[in-house]
Structure formats: structure tokens, C-alpha cells
């Protein structure tokens, strides 16, 4: 009788949480951690670069203002960017210039970079639990 193929044991919750936190903080690290180096390196370059472009063209890093749901949602999307968001805030970047012609583009770059990073985190999680 042929032996049944062995499925790898599911990873521990602690290591999954650590993986997701690392993948969120530094875009692409979740993939590099799981030996998908090419994808991880591309994410590591592309997402912070997209975030940096957003800041450079006068996008704004919005605060978590719970009195304004839309501002809060934008802040949540940008927060998805991980360390670039925290570093940008700490350095006082991302004040945003409403009168700049590229202001809305900058916001779009910042929000999209954050949301894409969240998708990358979910992808890293899926790989870790064996769904991909």
C-alpha cells in the first residue's frame, strides 16, 4: 500500500504573528523569510519606493482623527505601509501641500502603497499556512 504524502505541520501561532508583523513592518520580508527571495526583494524595493514618491510629490500622512471617518480610513490605509509610514511620521515628512498640483497624486501613492503592503502580508500568511 502506497504511503500517504506527509503534509508539513501547521506553523505555530506565535511564529505566524511574528511573520505577519515583520512582513508588515518591512515590505517583502515575509516572502524573503519563506525563501521567496525574488518576490520579496521586488516588494522590498517597489513598495517603499512608491511610498517615497508619494511623500516627494507632497502627499500627506494623515493622522488617526476619529472625529472624521474618511481621514481615519486614509490613515489606516497609509499605516499599512509599515515602517516607511512610522519613519515618515517620526521625521515630520508628509505634511502635505494642498496647493501643490501633485497633492492628490501623492495621497494616492501613499494609500495604495499601504494597501498593497497589506495584500503582500496576506500573501505571506497564505504561504506560511500552506494555502499557496
Amino acid at each position: 500500500m502506497p504511503a500517504k504524502p506527509q503534509t508539513p505541520p501547521p506553523p505555530e501561532v506565535g511564529s505566524l504573528v511574528l511573520l505577519c508583523l515583520a512582513a508588515w513592518a518591512i515590505p517583502g520580508v515575509g516572502h524573503i523569510w519563506q525563501k521567496r527571495r525574488t518576490k520579496g526583494l521586488i516588494f522590498l524595493v517597489a513598495l517603499p519606493l512608491m511610498f517615497a514618491i508619494g511623500l516627494a510629490i507632497h502627499g500627506r500622512l494623515f493622522p488617526f482623527d476619529f472625529s472624521d471617518p474618511f481621514v481615519c480610513m486614509i490613515a489606516g490605509a497609509e499605516f499599512g505601509g509599515g515602517l516607511p509610514y512610522l519613519i515618515g511620521n517620526a521625521l515630520g515628512l508628509g505634511a502635505g501641500q494642498v496647493r501643490a498640483v501633485t497633492y492628490e497624486y501623492g495621497n494616492t501613492f501613499l494609500m495604495t502603497a499601504g494597501l498593497l503592503n497589506l495584500l503582500v502580508v496576506i500573501d505571506a500568511y497564505d504561504i506560511a499556512v500552506g494555502r499557496k
Binding site: L47, I57, V101, T102, Y105, F109, T112, A113, L116
Partner: protein, 58 residues
């Protein structure tokens, strides 16, 4: 700094297509095909919608 709307559009489309191609496909050939189609779709949609909106008075 970049102020060209078209250049910003192309840059944005490139990054989004790149990430989605890598997330959704595993084979390099498929990634290139999917990413290229998505990138082209972004540009075509923007140009066509821009043309359609041209007569709007606001």
C-alpha cells in the same frame, strides 16, 4: 519634482501592475503577461475615460 500627470499615471500603473502580477501568478511568463495586460489596461482606461470626459464643462 515630477509634475506630469501622464508620467505619474504611468508610474502608478507600473507599481500596481508589478505587485499584482507577483501576488497572483507564480510563473515568470504568466507574471509578465498578466502585469503587461494590467499595465496596458490602466493606461488605456485612463486615456479613454479622459477623452470621454473632455466635453464636460467642469
Amino acid at each position: 519634482m515630477m509634475q506630469s500627470h501622464l508620467l505619474l499615471l504611468v508610474t502608478f500603473a507600473f507599481f500596481v501592475s508589478l505587485v499584482f502580477a507577483l501576488l497572483t501568478k507564480d510563473d515568470a511568463r504568466e507574471q509578465l503577461r498578466f502585469g503587461g495586460m494590467m499595465f496596458g489596461g490602466f493606461l488605456a482606461a485612463a486615456i479613454i475615460l479622459g477623452w470621454l470626459m473632455l466635453p464636460f464643462p467642469f
